[in-house]
Amino acid sequence: MAIIEPFFALLSESDLNLKKAVLESLNSIAHSMPKPLQLINPAFENALSDACKYKPELVKEIELGPFKYMVDEGLAMRTSAFSFIDTAMEYILEKVGINYIVDQILMGISKYYNKPMLIIF
């Protein structure tokens, strides 16, 4: 089942779009052939936890004429991270432990009404 290990390693890369693509791919793998997910390692767990975190430095102010909007560039990645956890839960729960899952849940319940919150609840 070595095919999945490069995916796990790619989540540690810095590129946000790459991380999001990796998480979406892992989500698809979780749907269709979830068994390899049991190979997750501590490095992947750390990278996944990092992907779930709200990062204020990724929130940018966009000016559209007289209006200013705040755009969270990390939101799509967090949504993919929580989607993956939700999809893969029954296969990874024993491996990562309930404490890890609860930590991600607590991190994801934020002050904003967004998709990660919907996925968490």
Partner: protein, 93 residues
């Protein structure tokens, strides 16, 4: 959360206090949004999902022996008319 509740409900119990603290923050935020009439679809979806989670937790028999959750449920959900209505909608769906 609903998945964790269905897969391993009793394993959540050591974390109930931390979770209830967060739930308390959520109800405060939702209450403000409802009272300020900021009931956009996204807020409503969040509140409905939250109520489904509370309902799923309340169905665990042993949860009533957790004073913090029971206190939260009685004070924040049952005693708040709007939340009680939303909770009952979630329970019946």
């Amino acid at each position: 959360m609903n998945k964790v509740i269905s897969l391993a409900p009793l394993s959540l119990f050591p974390y109930i206090d931390r979770l209830v603290d967060k739930f308390g923050e959520c109800t405060t935020k939702f209450d403000k949004a409802i009272n300020a009439k900021q009931e956009g679809e996204r807020v409503k979806d969040c509140i409905r999902a939250f109520m489904r989670t509370i309902f799923a937790l309340s169905k665990i028999e042993e949860i009533n022996s957790m004073p913090k959750f029971k206190g939260f449920y009685d004070e924040k959900i049952v005693k708040n008319e709007k939340f009680k209505e939303l909770y009952e909608q979630a329970a019946s769906s």
